[in-house]
């Protein structure tokens, strides 16, 4: 019972926020709606008993991808004074969304504890789980049977990182470095630092 209720809540909210992602006029709001959609998708995953995918959704999509989007959007030319203007007016809406998220959290945990939702009768025999939950099973497979691929994937990511740094990092030479060289400042003598000039009246000065 609680699962069905939670399912419809998550599904409706997800579709609604997905629609709002593309209809919102303000790109920052779009990204925030997108985050809400991700949260609801994670809730749906919890309902079918795939808590690992739910965690991935929250950690990877909400934690990294959406924040990245937010950074990009923030770089756009947006008038933040105008954005802040409606804070008091939108405060109730913000509180409402926060309450909905809280309710979802409670419902989601409740539904998860009540057991996973039954989607249909499976036709084939699924492989038996190794551990207690699917997080444990995945971990057991990933670090034993697929150890080789797991480590190789790490190398792929390392190459991506090295490549990004090699192609974009520009080492500035000493003269343009931002920090001060105290030793050089202390060693400086008056005759290196100052120049005496006697400019003739009515003419410019060459330094």
């Amino acid at each position: 019972m609680i699962q069905t209720f939670a399912f419809y809540l998550f599904a409706v909210l997800m579709i609604a926020s997905a629609v709002l992602v593309i209809t919102a006029r303000n790109p920052v709001h779009s990204v925030l709606w997108l985050i809400l959609a991700f949260f609801n998708a994670a809730g749906l995953m919890v309902l079918v008993g795939a808590e690992f995918i739910a965690m991935l959704l929250v950690i990877v999509y909400v934690g990294a991808v959406a924040v990245l989007f937010l950074f990009v959007v923030m770089m756009l030319d947006i008038d933040f004074a105008e954005l802040r203007a409606g804070f008091i007016r939108n405060f109730p809406l913000g509180i409402a969304i926060a309450l909905v998220l809280l309710a979802e959290l409670v419902l989601g945990i409740g539904a998860y504890r009540a057991g996973e939702i039954v989607l249909g009768t499976p036709t084939g025999a699924a492989a038996p789980l190794i551990g207690a939950g699917n997080t444990e099973s995945l971990g057991a497979l990933l670090y034993s049977k697929y150890l080789f691929l797991f480590e190789a994937t790490g190398l792929v990511l390392l190459v991506a990182m090295v490549g990004a740094i090699v192609l974009t990092l520009r080492e500035r030479d000493g003269a343009h470095r931002g920090h001060q060289n105290i030793g050089k400042q202390v060693r400086r003598k008056p005759d290196e630092a100052t120049v005496m000039k006697r400019p003739t009246i009515g003419e410019g000065i060459d330094l």
Binding site: K145, Y146, F148, L149, A152, T153, L155, G163, V166, T168
Partner: protein, 486 residues
């Protein structure tokens, strides 16, 4: 699963990975570590080469061995391909620093990326599982994209990198989509499982998967009709990187394609044979015709590599042990020819150290640098497949395999197109020996370049025929390793 045995088998990859990780740290902490890193990388590659050779010759591994429960397979085929890959990578690495030094763009990350690329290529040729194949492919491709744009201040190099990246990512996506279809319709990512599932017929969905995978792989080996990126990337990328692209990754991609076609899809040869035949014919013709109007030497060599891929695919189209053996022999000779040709292009510089890259630039080269001109002439005659040189033998074994497999038309078209191709190879000779000099070429080249060029020329010279019994035996045993499962 026995981890100790698995690690013993993948020791070459482990060695290269370890070297790459250590060099990455060295690059971060030591100033001007580029030269040091290059030498260390060459040493690591030699170590991997020796270990691979040891595994190849060790009688206890005559039947090959699986590592990590059938994700990775070490057999004669993979070992031969890996030897070629490592040696080609060493040759490319040796000639690299001088090119970048002039622009002050050489960094210690270059050898590191090359080492990781070699790891990926090793995985590609040894993969007997779609997942291993894909990760190896991405490891190799991703570092290739970075290498292509290594001269980041150079517009052409950046353009080459971007083009390669976008098109390469598209091809990877196509391969992945095909793989998901193959997996979905066969229920296995392992080649043996796929083969078993496809043994009694191929459903439409699975056929789609096979076609997608082959299309994506055709992109990676630059076979027509997925060759469009090749001339641009080869021209734009720094010349040592182009030499690398034309040699080692090509060997890896071809070996991977052969293993996949013969092993995973071996039960349904009819499904892919006509695709390979078309790609072979089209590559030979387009490679031969496309090069004719080109003025830039690197573009000409890019078309030449497309042309050569066509000949290699003829061997695969035969789908017989002798065909696969011919593919390996052709690859070995092709690597020597193509590295020799690119090293020669690298050695062509004017008095100010500017690279000479067009036909007008090399006019009358024989008067200034007779030895270099003679080497280029030999390489070009060999690429054209003119008999006393070793390039002829590669073409001969490929056509022999095609004729034995009753593909006379394919062989006839191949021979006809190779005559067209001879035109631009001989144009090199004509321009170098009979035209008036336009620009003054640099007189001296460093010893490292001469050593690499000398070895390549020695292999493709008529002396190369002394290698035939040995090369033939190794290629035959490597090809047999793929067909033992049949």
């Amino acid at each position: 699963m026995d981890y100790a045995a698995s690690f013993y088998i993948i020791a070459p990859e482990l060695m290269l990975t370890g070297a790459a990780l250590i060099l990455l740290l060295v690059a971060a902490w030591v100033r001007d570590a580029a030269k040091l890193a290059t030498i260390a990388a060459v040493v690591a590659l030699f170590g991997a080469t020796f270990w691979t050779g040891h595994l190849l010759l060790d009688p206890s591994f005559d039947q090959g061995a699986d590592a990590f429960g059938g994700l990775y397979r070490m057999d004669d085929f993979g070992s031969v391909a890996k030897l070629l890959i490592y040696l080609a990578t060493i040759a490319c690495l040796v000639v690299t620093p001088r090119f970048f030094d002039r622009r002050g763009a050489y960094r210690a990350e270059y050898p590191v990326l090359l080492l990781l690329n070699a790891v990926g290529m090793g995985m590609m040729v040894s993969a007997v599982d779609l997942m291993t194949l894909y990760i190896g492919l991405e490891l190799s491709s991703l570092s290739s994209y970075v290498l292509a744009s290594f001269l980041r201040d150079d517009t052409k190099s950046s353009e080459a990198g971007l083009k390669y990246f976008i098109l390469g990512a598209l091809a990877s996506g196509i391969i992945l989509y095909g793989m998901s279809l193959v997996y979905g319709f066969s229920g296995s990512t392992q080649y043996a499982g796929i083969r078993l599932a496809f043994a009694d017929g191929l459903s439409t969905g699975a056929l789609f998967g096979v076609v997608f995978v082959l299309a994506g792989l055709a992109f990676k080996i630059a076979a027509v009709p997925f060759h469009m990126w090749t001339p641009d990337v080869y021209e734009g990328a720094p010349t040592p990187v182009t030499a690398f692209f034309a040699s080692a990754p090509k060997v890896a991609a071809v070996a991977m394609l052969v293993r996949m076609a013969i092993d995973a899809f071996g039960a349904q040869i009819d499904a892919w044979q006509q695709i390979v035949i078309f790609a072979a014919m089209a590559s030979i013709v387009v490679g031969a015709l496309g090069a004719i109007g080109q003025e830039n030497l690197k573009r000409v060599l890019a078309y030449s590599s497309i042309n050569n891929v066509g000949f290699i695919l003829i061997g695969l189209a035969a789908a017989t042990p002798s065909g696969v053996s011919a593919v390996l022999i052709y690859l070995a000779i092709y690597v020597a020819m193509t590295i020799g040709a690119f090293v020669a292009v690298l050695m062509l510089r004017d008095r100010d150290g500017e690279q000479l890259e067009t036909f007008t630039d090399i006019a009358g080269l024989s008067t200034v640098r007779p030895a270099l001109a003679l080497s280029v002439a030999m390489l070009m005659f060999s690429l054209a497949g003119i008999p006393p040189l070793f390039g002829f033998w590669g073409k001969f074994v490929v056509f022999q395999a095609a004729v034995q497999a009753d593909m006379l038309v394919l062989a006839a078209i191949g021979i006809a197109a190779s005559v067209i191709g001879a035109f631009y190879y001989i144009k090199f000779v004509k321009v170098m020996f009979f035209d008036e000099p336009v620009r003054e070429a640099e007189i001296h080249s460093p010893a490292g370049h001469w050593v690499v060029l000398g070895i390549c020329v020695l292999i493709i010279s008529p002396l190369g025929y002394l290698l035939t019994p040995w090369l033939g035996a190794i290629a035959d045993s490597a090809a047999a390793a793929l067909f033992t499962v049949v």
